[in-house]
């Protein structure tokens, strides 16, 4: 706002020489209007001040804008001695005064001046009036700001000034924006139905939120009860039959609200009325002790009603009769039927496009969720999928990676550089942790897979608690570099944040890395050999111990890198890993153990499913996860070995 005001003052200074050339009629008129409405201006309220502001804006006096701006900025004051208005500019010991006609009027101490303090409502009116001046402002920023302000709070009064300013617009972008805004205003406030319909049609199936925002009020309906048939002029959306289109109680409430029927008795009112008419231990002939059921209470109330002690209340048959006697209809707030029809058609058109776009957006979301699951699970695809070692501490390796990223950021404040350092460092840290774990624990348990699960779980709770002791329970930030901020916005519906794109790319990179490692390197060959038959591999000169250690280390290291990536969008806490561990195992199991393509398919399936279920019930991600897990349990029934099952000797049994 301040910016606009400054721009304004600059404009006014430039415009000064023109004042002399402007018609003499307008000169001083603004000052005169102010003086005439002195009391109104001094005690301005939103209800009363409108005409004065309009008169000022329409006066044609070049100082009007100046006066309005000053008024809005609380720099308009009144001299206490004679009530004259002045524009104020604060000085060291008071105000420098400028008369409303633009001439300097000396200075005055603060005590002599009453500053006008218009409230928010009045300032809003002033801002609207100022729009016509701002729309032709030489400063493009001021013009853009004016357009934003109109778009935020459109009013019929804006339409004419806006139209007038389009031809003079030099900036092509602003011109397009003005034209769009002009059509938006025209469809709401246009003079004739034809003009409005033309404006509606001109948008086609535009996806903008603004057009939907402008169209929705046009098709807004209100439910109204009529004593007879609806009046001829009403723009009916449809008539309502109580019981089918509208619940009976709601229909009756409409009648009550329209004063067409007596109010129904609420239980509280009935209780109060009965309690008030308690005479000698009975009400209307019914003993107090018997009043513990609804029928007895109704009987007592009817007795009171016939006696005339309580106002009559509608009984069920009366309600029924009243509902029969009246008609109910949904009526458009917009009176013109052609306009509403055009708006309905436009909204339907837009709805179709929006639906298609939402499917696209959902697919993007699902893809991004799938890549997160894939990242979290790819380490497991190595340790569990290839080596068949259940590592419950996998989630804690993810956490370890995320904390490594956090610690690196403590030392390297450049976020880009710190991420570049953190990725290999996280790999190194978790690689070391994985190797240590393999050497110390897992090696001794290869023959006892269930106990590997338990032992690694012991490590998992220990690691989690150590992280909690070191870093505390509150979440630590892992900040993404600035170039990953924001989102890639295709239109108002489809958008995806850059971090998610980065994670997608990272997931693809890892997929490539895994394939290369297993299929193209000596290590991969040896890993596959050791997994299939350790004894045979050993007799071929491969050291199974070393291979197992390296494989486990690589799997853990990848978990560390995934941790950095996950930490970028999730809060880094000691429980980060346990949030992903079950889903990761699910991903591997559903996809098919021992096959990277299976893990990919599993991640895609789980991601798509979860997003798909969320779409049906967007408010409830917990339910989505529940149903997803139930689906997986059932899915395992039909494909116990996962989507892509290994066959033959590779299956291992």
């Amino acid at each position: 706002m301040r910016h606009i005001i400054h721009a304004f003052l600059a404009v006014l200074l430039l415009a000064l020489p023109q004042i002399a050339a402007s018609p003499a009629r307008a000169e001083g008129e603004a000052a005169a209007i102010l003086t005439q409405n002195r009391d109104l201006v001094a005690k301005a309220s939103r209800q009363t001040i409108g005409p004065v502001i309009d008169a000022l804006a329409a006066s044609g006096d070049p100082t009007a804008a100046q006066i309005l701006t000053a008024w809005e900025a609380r720099r308009l004051g009144q001299r206490k001695s004679d009530g004259a208005f002045f524009l104020l500019a604060p000085t060291a010991d008071g105000y420098a005064l400028t008369a409303p006609d633009g001439t300097a009027a000396g200075t005055a101490p603060k005590a002599d001046i009453t500053e006008l303090k218009p409230n928010a409502g009045v300032r809003g009116l002033i801002a609207t009036a100022l729009v016509q001046f701002t729309l032709s402002d030489p400063d493009p920023a001021a013009r853009a700001a004016a357009l934003t302000s109109i778009a935020r709070d459109p009013a019929a009064a804006h339409l004419e000034p806006l139209r007038a300013s389009i031809d003079g617009e030099t900036d092509p972008a602003l011109k397009a924006q003005k034209q769009r805004l002009e059509r938006l205003l025209a469809l709401q406030y246009g003079a004739s139905a034809a003009e409005r319909i033309a404006a509606i049609e001109s948008f086609g199936a535009d996806l903008g939120l603004d057009i939907r925002g402008a169209l929705n009020p046009l098709v807004a309906t209100k439910r109204i009860a009529y004593a007879a048939n609806p009046p001829a002029g009403a723009n009916l959306a449809r008539t309502l039959t109580p019981g089918t289109d509208i619940p009976r109680t709601e229909a009756y409430d409409l009648l009550v609200a329209a004063n067409l029927a007596p109010a129904r008795l609420t239980p509280e009112e009935q209780t109060a009325a009965l309690a008030a008419n308690l005479v000698n231990g009975s009400v209307g002939g019914v003993a107090l002790a018997d009043l513990n059921s609804q029928p007895a209470r109704d009987r007592a109330y009817t007795a009171l009603e016939t006696a005339g002690t309580v106002p009559p209340a509608a009984t069920d048959p009366e309600v029924e009769a009243a509902l029969q006697a009246h008609t109910f209809a949904e009526v458009y707030a917009e009176p013109d039927a052609e306009v509403t029809a055009a708006a309905q058609a436009a909204l339907k058109r837009i709805g179709l496009t929006v639906g298609a776009m939402q499917v696209a957006d959902l697919s993007l979301d699902a893809l991004s969720l799938a890549s997160i699951y894939f990242l979290a699970a790819i380490g497991l695809a190595i340790t569990f999928g290839v080596m068949r070692v259940i590592n419950m501490a996998h989630g804690e390796f993810i956490m370890l990676g995320a904390y490594t990223g956090y610690v690196v950021q403590l030392f390297i404040t450049n976020y880009t550089l710190s991420i570049i350092v953190a990725l290999p460092l996280a790999f190194a840290v978790t690689f070391a942790a994985g190797v240590a774990m393999e050497r110390l624990v897992i090696r001794h348990l290869y023959k006892r897979p269930l106990e590997t699960l338990l032992a690694t779980f012991g490590i998992s709770i220990a690691l989690q608690q150590i992280a909690k002791n070191i870093f505390g329970t509150q979440a630590r930030p892992l900040t993404a570099p600035a170039w990953l901020d924001g989102a890639w916005v295709l239109n108002d519906v489809v958008s995806i944040s850059y971090i998610r794109i980065a994670i997608f790319v990272l997931a693809l990179l890892f997929l490539g890395f895994f394939l290369w490692l297993m299929k193209r390197t000596r290590l991969g060959l040896e890993v596959r050999a050791v997994t299939q038959n350790p004894a045979m591999a050993a007799s071929m000169g491969i050291n199974p111990d070393r291979i197992n250690m390296l494989t486990f280390g690589i799997g853990s290291g990848i978990a560390g890198i995934a941790g950095v990536a996950i930490g970028l969008f999730a809060k880094v806490t000691s429980e980060l890993g346990s949030d992903y561990i079950v889903q990761s195992f699910m991903t591997v199991v559903v996809g098919g153990v021992g096959n990277i393509w299976g893990t990919l398919a599993g991640a895609l399936l789980i991601g798509t499913l979860q997003k798909g279920i969320e779409w049906f019930n967007p408010s409830n991600t917990l339910a989505a996860q529940t149903y997803m897990i139930i689906f997986i349990i059932i899915f395992i029934q039909f494909r116990p070995r996962g989507i892509i099952a290994l066959k033959g000797r590779a299956a291992g049994d």
Binding site: P267, T271, L274, A275, L278, L288, A289, L291, N292, S293, Q294, R297, I390, M392, V441, H444, L445, K447, R448, P449, L450, E451, L453, L454, A455, F457, G458, I459, S460, I461, A462, L463, Q464, Q465, I466, K468, N469, S578, V582, F585, M586, V589, N620, L622, A623, Q625, T626, I629, I630, I632, I633, I634, I636, Q637, F638, P640
Partner: protein, 410 residues
């Protein structure tokens, strides 16, 4: 038959005697009846530990004897608790609402009472109507049946699905863990009808019995827990000492071979899985009135893993092992986290046991798995002079940790 059964299993008598002595000791020491050297909260803690011992027994049967590492039994435990909690909360709120409505000039109608209870219970989640699952909450017998039937049915359906498709080993563990996670996530929602993450509270007040002191209530529940544990122990001991016990141990050691011998492996597993789920639910029914509150965090997958930890530390494949493990670990845990263990100053920092107990438990557990797969129960073997047969390096079976009775006795 009975004589032979007890004579073959002297450990049952020893266990029952120890449990009876312990119950007597607590009764004598309680504030309600005895010398008041055991506080009411301690009686509650001990009663809860007895319930945990019962659920550990169930876990031992399903894991130690049948080799199914279920990570879902704490879910059955909590579902049982939820079911009994519904009645406790309903009946208790009913008493309060009736007392409040008695102040009004007219006698209350049943609708008013029901509405009042619903508003009281569901106000926190912004609802004021009873969800359908509360249909039987007004009746203790019905709700008690549900408390055992719902977890039992859940286990039956889940087990049927899982065993039918031959999901075994670690896959089954992961699947049961997923089931637990799904249940807990479901209960975390506000519209699950069980008050979302607020859970059910005020369960320590038993309705319908006037206003006895908490000291008395805690002692009654303690007795009930001790009785349930004793019955559960005898039942399971009888079960595993017979033919059924031999078959399920055989399933653990070599499932394929048992199947080829003509046994219906799936039926045996399903029976055990369901039976132990019901036992776990029974333990939950007794546990939560002593705990006073239940919320979805109780079903988190980690709780079931802790259950496995207790059984592993106590010693698998022997019923007394499960009891020892559960009692030992929970007692130690409440001792360490209760701040009663002196902190150890290390010069540069102080080792606070409240913070480091879980680390100790985690690594201790790893050590037990690696070096003493038979857990504390292994000590009993040493005392009795039992040795593992020397198989010249060949494994005894797939599950070295479990007691393999007949073979181990040389």
């Amino acid at each position: 038959m009975t004589k032979g059964f007890l004579a073959k299993n002297p450990s049952i008598l020893i266990f029952l005697a120890a449990l009876a002595a312990f119950t007597l000791l607590v009764t004598l020491g309680s504030e309600a009846l005895g010398l008041s050297f055991i506080s009411t909260s301690m009686v509650k803690t001990l009663g809860k530990i007895l319930c945990l011992c019962l659920v550990a027994l169930a876990m031992d049967l399903v894991w130690g004897y049948a080799g199914i590492l279920s990570l879902g039994h704490m879910a059955f435990f909590a579902v049982g608790g939820y079911m009994i909690g519904m009645w406790l909360m309903y009946a208790r709120t009913e008493e309060i609402v009736i007392a409040a409505l008695a102040q009004s000039p007219l006698p209350a109608t049943p609708e008013e009472i029901r509405q009042g209870i619903a508003t009281q219970i569901f106000g926190v989640v912004g609802a004021s109507d009873f969800p359908p699952i509360w249909a039987f909450a007004h009746s203790l017998p019905l709700q008690l049946i549900l408390a055992l039937a719902v977890p039992g049915l859940l286990a039956l359906v889940f087990g049927w699905l899982a065993f039918r498709s031959r999901v075994t080993g670690v896959y089954l563990s992961i699947l049961t863990q997923a089931m637990t996670l799904a249940l807990s996530l479901y209960l975390f929602q506000n519209d699950s009808g069980l008050r979302g993450n607020n859970g059910l509270s005020g369960l320590q007040n038993i309705p319908g019995i006037g206003e006895p002191s908490q000291a008395a209530v805690s002692l009654w529940l303690f007795w009930a827990s001790a009785l349930a544990l004793a019955c559960g122990y005898v039942l399971l001991a009888w079960l595993v000492s017979g033919k059924l016990g031999s078959v399920i141990r055989a399933i653990r050691d070599d499932e394929q071979r048992v199947r080829f011998l003509g046994y219906s492996v799936e039926s045996y597993k399903l029976f055990l899985f369901t039976l132990t789920a019901i036992l776990a639910a029974l333990a939950g029914v007794l546990y939560y009135p002593q705990a006073g509150i239940i919320n979805p965090a109780e079903l988190a997958p980690i709780a079931s893993i802790y259950l496995a930890v207790w059984v592993a530390i106590g010693g698998r494949g022997r019923l007394y092992g499960a009891v020892i493990g559960a009692a030992l670990v929970t007692l130690l845990s409440s001792w360490f986290t209760g701040g009663r263990v002196p902190d150890i100053p290390l010069g540069f920092a102080t080792l606070k046991w409240v913070d480091w107990w879980l680390v100790l438990l985690g690594f201790g557990f790893v050590a037990v798995t690696l070096f003493a797969p038979q857990g504390v129960g292994g000590l009993v073997d040493k005392l009795q002079g039992l040795r593992n047969p020397d198989r010249k390096g060949a494994p005894l079976g797939p599950d070295d940790g479990s007691l393999q009775e007949k073979e181990a006795v040389e």
